[in-house]
Symmetry: C2
């Protein structure tokens, strides 16, 4: 994670207490947090940090490719710090729990040219849905 801070500094990021805290929150936690959850945790460490700053910082991290936005079908976007290891997601349809998964195969290769409609396809996102053990037991 100091890796992360180093990389950011290397890219000309001005280092501020707020940005450091946001980066630390993302790094310390392996669940995928919503922007609001990031804000709550950031406030715990730096009470005067504002919502706008958290949103701005998350947006910058996404632009820089250090963090991924994940749109499960829940309401809020989630932020995934695991941007450098490609992976997909498994989501519990009932409680919303998320796990990172690594399917075999390459879905990009499964989309024939005839199905690309002239698009330049750069990325695939695979979301598996199901029921987690906890919810199945209930």
């Amino acid at each position: 994670m100091s890796d992360l801070l180093e990389r950011l500094r290397g890219r000309g990021w001005r280092m501020t207490a707020q940005r450091r805290v946001v980066a630390e929150v993302l790094d310390g936690e392996h669940v995928h947090l919503t922007a609001d959850e990031v804000h709550s945790r950031a406030v715990a460490r730096l009470p005067e940090i504002s919502r706008a700053t958290v949103y701005n910082t998350l947006g910058e991290l996404v632009s820089l490719g250090e963090v991924l936005e994940v749109a499960t079908d829940k309401r809020a976007k989630r932020y995934d710090p695991n941007a450098h290891r490609p992976h997909h997601h498994l989501v519990c349809a009932q409680c919303g729990a998320i796990r990172d998964v690594h399917p075999t195969g390459n879905p990009l290769a499964d989309l024939p040219d005839s199905e690309r409609f002239g698009f330049t396809v750069s990325d695939v996102e695979v979301t598996y849905r199901g029921t987690c053990p906890n919810c199945a037991a209930a």
Copy 2:
């Protein structure tokens, strides 16, 4: 689409002007509309229909499995009337245009048991991202 209305009546749906209009809007259009777009088009045919009714009706159609919710990473959920033919989506990262696509292969088979964490996996959603011809030209 009268198919759809038949099926719904068969399931004990009370048929109202509002519900008919929502079903017609979804059926007549092959783009994936947001709830708000559905509302706008419904209002054009039935000016006094309320937003809440459109949301309720869409939610009911989703529960009944007649329509799918699609969460691209845009802000609003989109509603996909094509629920009975399995397909995935190709999204333009710039303008948000969506196409239905039919990749080969079966992503469900690509998720080994060891990567399922005890979940009962029932569904996969694949979203390809890229740049559409229009945006590439610009």
